[in-house]
Structure formats: C-alpha cells, structure tokens
C-alpha cells in the first residue's frame, strides 16, 4: 500500500510537471507562426488488484498532442495560394496603370487629340511649313509614346521573369525544407511518438510554399507528405523536383519541374500571379496596342497614300517595306497578292494613277484593276509598268519602285480631269469615228478593215495572234492592231481608246483632215459602216469643274443625242451615263445654251462646252473618271507606298523617315493643288470614324482599353479583398483552435501548480503514514 501511495504521488507530481512544461512551451510559442498549442493527455494509470479490490494507481501522461484541424489547414493552404496570386498580380498591374498615365490627360488619348488638332490647324494653312512640322511632330509623339509604353511593358515582362525566377528559387528552398522535415518526422514517428513541433514546422513550410505556388499535399500513413504542383510532384518521398523558369515568346513564362516532360501551370500563388501578369495581362495590353498601331498604320496610310504632298507628285517612289519571298524560290514577284505575306491585306478593287505633265499641267488618269487572287506582285507591277511614262519594278531590296519619265510626275490623288477630252473624240477638230460598242468585242478572226487615208487606201487585218482572246477583244488590243499597221502610220491616222470603245481619227485637226471607212470583213463586228469623216475648224472644247463629292468611284460617259452644233442647234442634248449605263443626267446644249457655261452634272461636278459640232452619227463620246477613293484595293498600303506611318505593330510603328526629314511630303492635298486639304480632311474624319479592327474609333478603342485595365485592376482588387477576408477568417478559426490563449494557459498553469502542490502534499502524507508505521516497529 505504501508503495502504491508513493507511486501515485510520484505520477501525479510528474504529470503536473509535464503539464506545466507543456504550458510553458505553449506560452513561449504564443507568437510563433504556425505553432499549434499542445496539451497533455492525462489518463488514469493501470489499476492494481489488491486485496480483492481493484485500486486506482494514479495518473499517467498518455501523450502530448497538438490541437489541430487538418481540414482547416488544408483550406488555409488553398486560399492563401489564391490570395497571394491576386495580390502579386495586383501589385504588378498597378505599375501598368501608372505607365499609361490616364486619365490625367497626358496619355496616348490626348496625344491623339493633339495630333488631330495639329492636322486641323494645318488644313487651314496647308502651305505653311511650320504647321506641317507641327503636324508631323504630333504624329511622331504618338509613335514615340507607343514605343515608350511597349518598352516599359517589355521591362515589366523582363522584371516579371526575374521575379518568377526568384520565387522559383524560394519554392525550391521550401521544398527542400519540407523534404528534410519529412525525413525527420519519419524518424521520430517510427517509434510511435508524435513529432508535434516538426509537424507544425512542416505545416508552416507548406503554408509558406502555398503563398508562392498553389500545392496539393497528401500525407501517407508514415506521416510523410508529398507535395504536388498542378498534378506534378514537387516534393516526393526521397527527393525534390526543382522548379525552373524559362521565358517563352511574348512574355510568356514557362514553369517546369525537374524531370517532367510538360510545363506546370499553377493556378495560385505568387508565381501564378506573375505568370498571369506577364503572359496574360501585359501581353493582352501589348496585343491591344499592336492592334491600335496596326489600325493607325492601315487607316492613316489608306488616306495618306492617296494624298499629294506640298511639292506635288512623285518622280520616283519606293515602298517602305520589302515584299517577302514566301516560297523562298528567290523570286519575289511570283506570289499572288492575297498570299504574298504583305503586312496588310489587299482586296479586289481599283487603283487610279494620275500622271501630270509638268509643263502643261495636263492630267492623265489610268485605272488599274487589282484582283488579289489573280494578280501576283509581278502582274500588278507589269500593269503599272504598262502605263505610258511610268515604269515599275522591284528594287534590290525587294521594295516596289515606281519611276516616271522626265517631265512627268505621278500621284495617286483624286483630281478631277479638267480637260477630259484630250483626244477630241466628242466634237474635236480631228476627223474621227468611234466604234459604237463597248469592249470586249468578238472580232472576226482574220477579219479586215479597209480604210482610206489622206495618201492611200489600206487594209488592217485582225489576226487572232494579236489578241489574248479574239472573241473577247479589249479596246486596247483593237487599238494596238490598228496603230501598228503601216497604212495607219503612213496616213497619219491613229486609234485611241475612249473608255471601253475605240476611236479612229486623224492626227491633225481642222476641216482639211479626212479619212474614210471603205469596208472589210471585220467592219460589222467592230460596229463600223462605210462612210467618210471630216475634221472641223471649230472644235468643241470640254471642261469640267468642281469637286466630286460622291461616295463611290465612277466612270462617266458623255454622248450626244443627235448631230448638231453646241449652242446653236435647237434641241441638242448630251447624255451622261455611269459605268453601268444608268443615265445620270441629260444636258441641254442646244440653242438655249450659252457657250462655256458650266452645267451641273451631279455630285458637285459641272461641265462646259464651247461651240462646235458634235456627231452622234460618228459615235462621238468621251469618258472621265470621277474618283472618291483612288485606291479601293489598299494595294498602296500593303506595298508601303506613300504612307504616313511605317511598321506593323506598336513597337515598329513610325512616321515615315522621308516625311520626318521633309514635312513637305506630308500629303495634305487630295487633288494635287497645294491649297487643297482634302486628304487632311479625310484624315481628320478618322477622329470620329469607326475602325473595323478596333470596333470603334481610335479614341473609343483607347478609352475602352484604359477603362478595361481599370476595371480589371479594381475587380482584382476587390477579389483580393474578399480573399483576404476569407483567409483572415480561416486564420482566426485556426487561431481559435490551435492558437495559444495566454490567459487560458495561466489558468491551466495555476490548476497544475495546485495539482503539483497537492501531489507533493499527498507524498508527504504517504511519507508520514510510512514514518508512523516505522515508528511502530
């Protein structure tokens, strides 16, 4: 009995002491991160059977355990990962916000407004070099700003890469720590003891790791945890698969674990925030700015390429970019326009080239049809090259180069040809007959046309070999056959093309000039009949005036309705038709018409005629082009001809070097007259026009972009706040379970202190009992 008593007392003493020590441990770790309070599990000691009784043998410390909610810890790990992703993203995003410098009114948006303002000022002073320089500078500021933003975005992406590398290093250190703790815990727990503090440390390490990257943690029956990132093992039983960061294209960051075959894409943790920022957010911004810059180049060049600079047309013009040789066969000319890899798409349409005679100021407008799926670079250049006084080729760098003959300049503007009937096919001074049908004509193969000129009669033969397809002969081909005939040359006759018709006429003017159509087998197919034709002394002179305000390009054909003298013959009228043959208007040019008076046709264009005879019976006709857009195919933009900007994205967009050096080349005029500001007005219209690729105007696109960034940041911010709140409340719950309440510990301490004192007292009593007994002996 005495033995039992001391035993019980001793156990009580030891238990209380252990409890007090645990309390001490708890109190001293009250502020240790990740520490879970520990408590001792007391149990009654094995009872002893004595004297037929089962007697209690005191208290026993069964174990020291942690108060911990593993599930809660798991949630904290998850939420911490989401939170740190959001907050790292947020930190980075705000630097982009600073970079755009909006809505202070000093960002790209106001630079764009300033550019339009400068263009507008120039439109009132097109000749002024100071205004021109100002306009060019304002365009340069935009490209500079774009470059600056892209440079800074680049820098942000590079910074993100190095940040990600640092984080990966941290991740690897944490992983190593977890591995080490795994091993220690394994050793400790192999003999059944719970490695409480080591587990706390491991949990803390996992939590810290989760801040860097979101992980899945699995604990096996041996107490060893395996840590996975995006389904791949980071910390295994034996080793760590270290994470590496590798920069891909466009700021994309690739994360890979050692030994793995695919990249990991963590959804949470700081590193996920950085990856999403660099490869997503900044990249999206760059993409948007690239679209913006691309549209800037496309839309501005569309207008500018068809404008004319202060110094008038070009003597030579080179593209600002090389035509690529996509198939790599060393021939850049053989690719179709649609698939040649040009920076901007070419659509089916037409290009008007205006050739100006420097001395006389006379214009010649040539329409070039562009079909990207049928024309190659080569055939397009051949079409330009075929225009008289113009030669077109690819230069040594593969750039398109167009050169005019001396004494001529060319441009792609849209002037009205003020003297449209240069050949005098409508009441001109020459003896003249026009074939009445529009080409293509089905000419009789081997057919003949017999003509009588001033000196001799001769026969022109239409051989199939002179035509691509004689059953659909073009006006140019028919004219060429006639012009190449020796008889035509000998008799000073010539054939000219009027719209889609062919006219045969004398070279000289006046009533002394004449020729006859005598016959021939091709006569009917050409729509000619036997007759003789005489020139006249008083030639009708046609003059156009005004500015075409129509929205689409058109070719107007003027034909008299009957024979008669302008201003004299009663009831004489002229019909004006568009290229579809639809009547636009009928002009009264008979006795009520005062010679030289402008008559309004349509869309701001007027025509005037001087007195003279017109003959419907001889097929009198002339055509003129009225141009709203001289390049509907965008071929000039695609080939980089006469643009304002060069480049294809935000980092390469520039104001063309030649314009920077010489602001006079800024195309303000649409007609070639230096005081005209048609091209500038079209550029200014872009301020409010919707641009297809931007689904809005330039300004709208940009403010949507800035607004979108603001919205992303503010929504990330509120998501982070929610997440923060969640993590905090989880942390509170964890604290409420595992945290140390000092007051509570103090209460326990007093309880165990008293228990200790009581146990000591008990031992003393047991001792006294023993002493009493011994004294009896």
């Amino acid at each position: 009995m005495a033995n039992l008593g001391s035993e019980i007392g001793l156990r009580a003493l030891l238990s209380s002491r252990t409890a007090l020590e645990t309390i001490g441990h708890n109190v001293s770790n009250a502020n240790t991160p990740g520490f879970s309070r520990q408590r001792i599990d007391l149990g009654t000691a094995r009872p002893q059977n004595l004297r037929g009784l089962q007697l209690g043998s005191g208290v026993n410390v069964d174990s020291v355990s942690r108060t911990v909610d593993e599930l809660l810890n798991g949630r904290i790990v998850k939420q911490t990962a989401s939170l740190s992703k959001l907050s790292s993203q947020l930190t980075e995003m705000t630097s982009v916000e600073a970079l755009l410098n909006e809505p202070s009114g000093e960002g790209l948006g106001s630079l764009l407004d300033q550019m339009f303002s400068a263009f507008s000022a120039l439109s009132a002073n097109t000749e002024d070099v100071v205004y021109r320089t100002g306009a060019v500078q304002s365009a340069i500021s935009i490209t500079n700003r774009l470059h600056q933003i892209i440079d800074e975005a680049d820098q942000l992406q590079r910074d993100a890469q190095s940040k990600a590398s640092f984080i990966a290093t941290d991740i690897n250190i944490k992983a190593e720590l977890i591995l080490k703790l795994n091993q220690e815990i394994g050793k400790v727990e192999a003999n059944g003891t719970r490695a409480n503090d080591l587990r706390d440390q491991r949990e803390q390490a996992v939590r810290e790791l989760a801040m860097l990257v979101d992980v899945t943690v699995n604990e096996d029956s041996n107490g060893v945890v395996r840590v996975q990132v995006d389904g791949q093992l980071l910390v295994g039983a034996k080793n760590v698969h270290a994470m590496t960061v590798e920069a891909g294209d466009k700021g994309v960051l690739n994360l890979r674990l050692a030994g793995a075959t695919r990249n990991v894409k963590p959804k949470g943790g700081e590193i996920a925030g950085i990856v999403a920022f660099a490869g997503g957010f900044v990249n999206d911004l760059r993409g948007e700015l690239d679209t913006y810059a691309q549209s800037l180049v496309l839309e501005f060049n569309r207008v500018h390429s068809t404008g004319v600079g202060l110094t008038g047309g070009f003597k030579s013009l080179a593209g600002d970019s090389s035509v690529p040789d996509l198939d790599g066969d060393g021939d850049r000319r053989d690719s179709l326009l649609a698939t040649a890899g040009l920076p901007f798409p070419v659509t089916a349409g037409e290009l008007f080239v205006t050739i100006v005679d420097d001395a006389s100021g006379d214009l010649r407008q040539v329409r070039v049809e562009v079909n990207p799926t049928r024309d190659s670079i080569g055939t397009f250049l051949d079409k330009l090259d075929a225009i008289p006084d113009l030669s077109a080729s690819l230069d040594g760098f593969g750039r398109v180069s167009i050169v005019s003959e001396s004494g001529k300049t060319f441009h792609f503007g849209r002037p009205l040809d003020l003297a449209p009937d240069q050949d005098g096919t409508l009441g001109g001074g020459r003896a003249n007959v026009v074939m009445p049908f529009d080409a293509p004509l089905s000419v009789t193969p081997g057919g003949t046309l017999q003509l009588q000129g001033a000196t001799s009669a001769f026969t022109v033969t239409f051989n199939a070999g002179s035509f691509t397809n004689i059953a659909a002969a073009t006006a140019e081909e028919i004219a060429a056959v006639i012009n190449e005939d020796a008889g035509t040359i000998a008799n000073s006759l010539r054939a000219v093309v009027v719209g889609d018709r062919v006219a045969i006429q004398t070279s000289g003017e006046g009533s002394g000039e004449s020729f006859s159509v005598l016959g021939g087998t091709a006569m009917a197919s050409l729509g000619l009949s036997v007759g003789s034709f005489t020139g006249q002394d008083v030639a009708v002179r046609v003059a156009l005036s005004g500015e075409y305000t129509g929205a689409v390009n058109s070719q107007w054909t003027f034909t008299p309705n009957g024979d008669g003298i302008v201003g004299t013959t009663p009831g004489l009228t002229l019909s004006v038709r568009d290229e579809t043959g639809a009547l636009i208007t009928t002009l009264e040019v008979g006795e009520t018409y005062s010679s030289g008076t402008p008559l309004l046709i349509a869309e701001g264009v007027s025509v005037s005629f001087t007195g003279g005879e017109v003959r419907a019976s001889e097929g009198d006709v002339f055509t003129t082009n009225v141009i709203a857009d001289s390049d509907t195919s965008d071929i000039l933009v695609a080939l980089g001809l006469n643009g304002l900007f060069s480049g294809t994205d935000a980092s390469t967009v520039q104001v063309l070097g030649s314009i920077q050096r010489d602001p006079a080349r800024l195309a303000a005029s649409a007609t070639g007259a230096v005081g005209d500001s048609g091209a500038l007005r079209d550029l200014l219209a872009l301020q409010n026009e919707d641009v297809e690729a931007l689904s809005g105007s330039f300004g709208e696109f940009y403010s949507t972009l800035v607004g979108g960034i603001g919205f992303q940041i503010s929504s990330t911010k509120s998501a982070a706040e929610v997440e923060q709140f969640l993590v905090e409340s989880l942390e509170e719950r964890r604290q409420s379970i595992a945290g140390v309440n000092v007051d509570e510990e103090l209460v326990n301490m007093i309880a165990y202190e008293q228990a200790y004192n009581a146990a000591a007292q008990f031992i003393q009593v047991v001792n006294q009992l023993e002493d009493e007994l011994l004294r009896l002996i």
Binding site: E102, A124, S736, G739
Partner: protein
C-alpha cells in the same frame, strides 16, 4: 462552435483595424490634396471611361477650333483686301464716268487713263495678295500667282492661273467651311450672256452660238465699190471708201448737189473735183470723180463689197444676206456668228463677250478707249465705254459677293468659335463632375476616417492591455 479568442487574434484584429483605417485616411487625404476623385483608372473604371470619352469630345472640339482660329487671319486679310479692291473700283468707276464726258479733250482723257492705269496696278496687286507664301485668291492653287499679265494678239490681257476650288476646313463632323474666295469668282467670273457688237458698221448678232471671252475686234473691210456709171461720173475706188452694200447716188444738176443714200446733199464745187468725198446717213464714205461730169442729172446705185475677219488675217467675203456667218479667231479660239444684213460701213468693230471679261481686261479696255488709239468718233468711244462700264459693274458686284461671302465666313468662324468654346467649357464641367473630388464629400470622408482611426487606436490600446497577469499577484 464558440469562438475561442487568442492573444494573437486580438493583436491581429487591432493591427488590421489600424491598417485599414489608416488606408482610408490616406486615400481621403490623397483626394483632398489632388482635388481629384479618380487618380488612376482602377479608382473608378466606368468613371474613367466616361471622363476619357468627354475629354475626347473636348479634343474633337479643339481640333475644330484649331481649324477655325488658324484660318481666321487669312479670311480677315482676304476680306480686308477685297474691301480695298471695292474702294478702288468705286474710284475707277467715278473716273470712267468722268472720262465719258463728251467735252473732254485728249489731254484730260490721257490724265484719266493714267489714273485708271494706277488703279489697275493696285487692283492687280490686291488680286495677287499673298499671306505668307500663299496666294489668297488662287483657289487651291495657292502656290501659283493667280493673275498674270500676258499679251494675246498684241493686246494686254490678264489671265487667271488659279483654279475654281475653294480652300475648306472641317468645323464639324460633316460640316466644312469655305475659307477662301476663288479669284475667278471674285475678279474673273465667267458668265457668258451674249455677244455685243459696236454700232459702227451695222453688224448684228447671228443666230449661232458664240464662244469667246473678253473682248475681240471684228474687222469689217471694204473691198471695193462698184456701180453702173455714166454722164462722165466715175468712181475713184481708192482705199478710202467705207460704204458697204447698196446705196443710191443722186446728182441733182439743178441744185448742183450730190447725195449718197440719205446722207446730206452736198454742193458740187466748181471746177468739178476729181475726188469728191460723199458721206451717207451712216457716215459711210464714197469717193467720186466728177472731173468729166457732163453737168446732167445722174443717178445710179453704188455697191460696196465687204469681207469680215475676226483674227485680222483671214477674211470672209459677205453677201449681205447671211443671218449667221461663222467667224473664227484661231489665236484666241473665239467663235462668233454674225448677221450681215445690216452692214453699212467698214470699221474695226469691238466685240464684247458679255459676262466673260475680268475686271482687269475691262479696265484696260477703258484705258485703251480713252487713249482712242483706233481713232474712233467721240460718240462711238462713249458707246464702247458704256458697254465696258456694264461689264465693270458686273465684276464689281461679283467682288461684293465675294466680300460678303468672306465676311460671313469670318462671322461664322467667330460664332462657331464661341459655340465651340461654350461647348468646351460645358464638357470640361462634365469631366470635372466625373473626375474631380467633391470637396465637401472629401472633407467629410477625411473627418470620418480620422475619427474611426482614433476610435480604433483607443479601443485597441485598451483591449491589448487586458491580461490575467494584471491580476495574478
């Protein structure tokens, strides 16, 4: 589950409270200091979009303002120059009226001509006004001197080298404003109405349509006189006859007079002259040799043959029956159709293509008329000047039209500038509404944040000090 507060929870709560309240205070302070509610897009994404769109509208207006304000100096300069031109023309008109006074002598007329030449020079100077490098009255061909003096057929002519387009600027999305007056409209508007001939020769307008501009000369030439002669009366038939068509010649022996057509019956002097000039009612002359006259009455019909030329080199004979004879001047391209039925007299006739001559050519014509180098009669000269004066008045009204147009442009610029400024101010107000901080609200927020922070600090300091230790002695 009952919450089991721990020390670190308490400390964390206090710390968090202090952080968030300090944050609010800082934010309120930032707004107060900058005066703006939106400092970065994320402060209010929707508000940012609105503010930027408003700013864009302001930018848009600014670009219109920049077009108008930059065009105003030249519009005003052009208007001022046209006013000057208008004054010059009024002065010229007074001089012309003075010059038409039939009683003036050659010296007086020369003096007026000299003065008019001065006006001519000044007007030309106005028409070629430059603003910087730009000619104000050249349409859009602003680098070309618009009015150039040239010589056509030896005559001084001013040609317009500009174009008829107008310089325009955008002052609204779809609205353009014309900021220049084309020199053609102001000084040289082409509005052909009819062809007028002087009244010397009796030539009339034919029925065909004419083509021409300014003035031209129609040469009506006398090609010879013929008639059945007798009683010793012969025709001298020198170059000095000017009678055209048929005219009766009557010698009244009793009265001793000779009469051509309805002209005055002139006494025949003795001895009978070998070359007597007789004049008919139109002032046309025939020269008669009376040296062999028998002294008997004699009457016959004389016929004067004529040919016409517009260019002075190629002459077309007339039958006096053409109602529309076409004449062409190859050098100028002028084409006229004349009625020859009324031709009575050879002359160099002035052809006026009414509505086509510019102010300079009209003035020059008047100067030439005053100097009378063609030596026409005084009434004829006044007739010519009258015709020119009509042209002159027409060009003056063109100029006033141009002036009115520029004046209204200037007014429109001014009013649109004012309107745009008003709009800008209004829009700026709207931007401020969206972007700027309301000071009352900000001040209130600042105070509230301050109070909350103080409260958090006070409660925090109290709660942190609570511990059982304070009572364990």
């Amino acid at each position: 589950m009952q919450l089991r507060p721990t020390q670190s929870t308490i400390f964390e709560l206090v710390r968090r409270g202090l952080t968030s309240n300090t944050g609010k205070l800082v934010r309120a302070q930032e707004q107060a200091a900058s005066g703006r509610r939106i400092l970065r897009p994320s402060d209010d994404a929707a508000g940012t979009s609105v503010a930027m769109s408003l700013r864009r509208q302001i930018g848009n207006l600014q670009s219109f303002v920049s077009a108008t304000s930059n065009s105003r100096p030249q519009v005003d300069q052009a208007a001022a120059r046209l006013e000057e031109a208008s004054a010059l023309m009024t002065e010229a008109r007074a001089l012309v009226i003075q010059g038409m006074n039939g009683s003036l002598g050659a010296d007086d007329r020369e003096q007026i001509a000299t003065q008019l030449e001065l006006v001519y020079g000044q007007l030309l100077d106005v028409a070629n006004t430059q603003s910087g490098d730009r000619y104000l009255f050249a349409g859009t061909n602003t680098n070309t001197r618009p009015f150039e003096v040239t010589y056509v057929d030896g005559e001084k002519r001013v040609q317009y080298r500009g174009n008829s387009d107008a310089q325009r600027v955008l002052i609204g999305r779809e609205t353009t404003l014309q900021i220049s007056a084309s020199g053609e409209d102001v000084f040289a508007r082409y509005a052909y109405s009819e062809t007028r001939y002087g009244s010397l020769s009796g030539i009339k307008r034919g029925t065909g349509g004419d083509t021409g501009s300014g003035y031209d000369s129609l040469h009506v030439r006398h090609d010879g006189t013929s008639g059945a002669m007798g009683e010793g009366v012969l025709l001298v038939n020198g170059n000095s006859d000017s009678m055209l068509g048929d005219r009766a010649l009557t010698i009244d022996a009793a009265a001793g007079t000779i009469q051509l057509g309805q002209g005055p019956a002139a006494p025949i002097p003795t001895p009978y002259p070998g070359n007597l000039r007789v004049v008919d009612q139109h002032g046309a002359e025939a020269h008669i040799d009376l040296s062999g006259w028998t002294g008997n009455d004699f009457s016959t019909t004389l016929t004067g043959a004529a040919s016409l030329s517009l260019d002075g080199t190629s002459y077309t004979p007339v039958t006096f029956a053409e109602t529309s004879l076409q004449l062409v001047d190859d050098t100028t391209g002028n084409v006229i159709h004349v009625n020859t039925t009324g031709l009575v007299r050879a002359a160099r006739e002035q052809v006026t293509f009414a509505g086509t001559s510019n102010v300079f050519d009209t003035l020059q014509g008047i100067v030439d008329d005053l100097r009378n180098e063609q030596n026409v009669s005084r009434p004829e000269m006044i007739d010519r000047m009258g015709s020119r004066l009509r042209e002159f008045d027409r060009t003056q009204s063109d100029l006033l039209l141009g002036l009115g147009q520029l004046g209204s442009t200037s007014k429109r610029i001014q009013s649109s500038e004012e309107r745009l400024q008003d709009l800008t101010v209004e829009l700026k107000g709207l931007v401020s509404n969206v972007e700027d901080a309301d000071f009352a609200v900000t001040a209130l927020e600042l105070t509230r944040a301050e109070q909350t922070l103080q409260l958090a600090q006070a409660t925090g300091s109290r709660i942190m000090q609570q511990s059982l230790l304070n009572f364990l002695r």
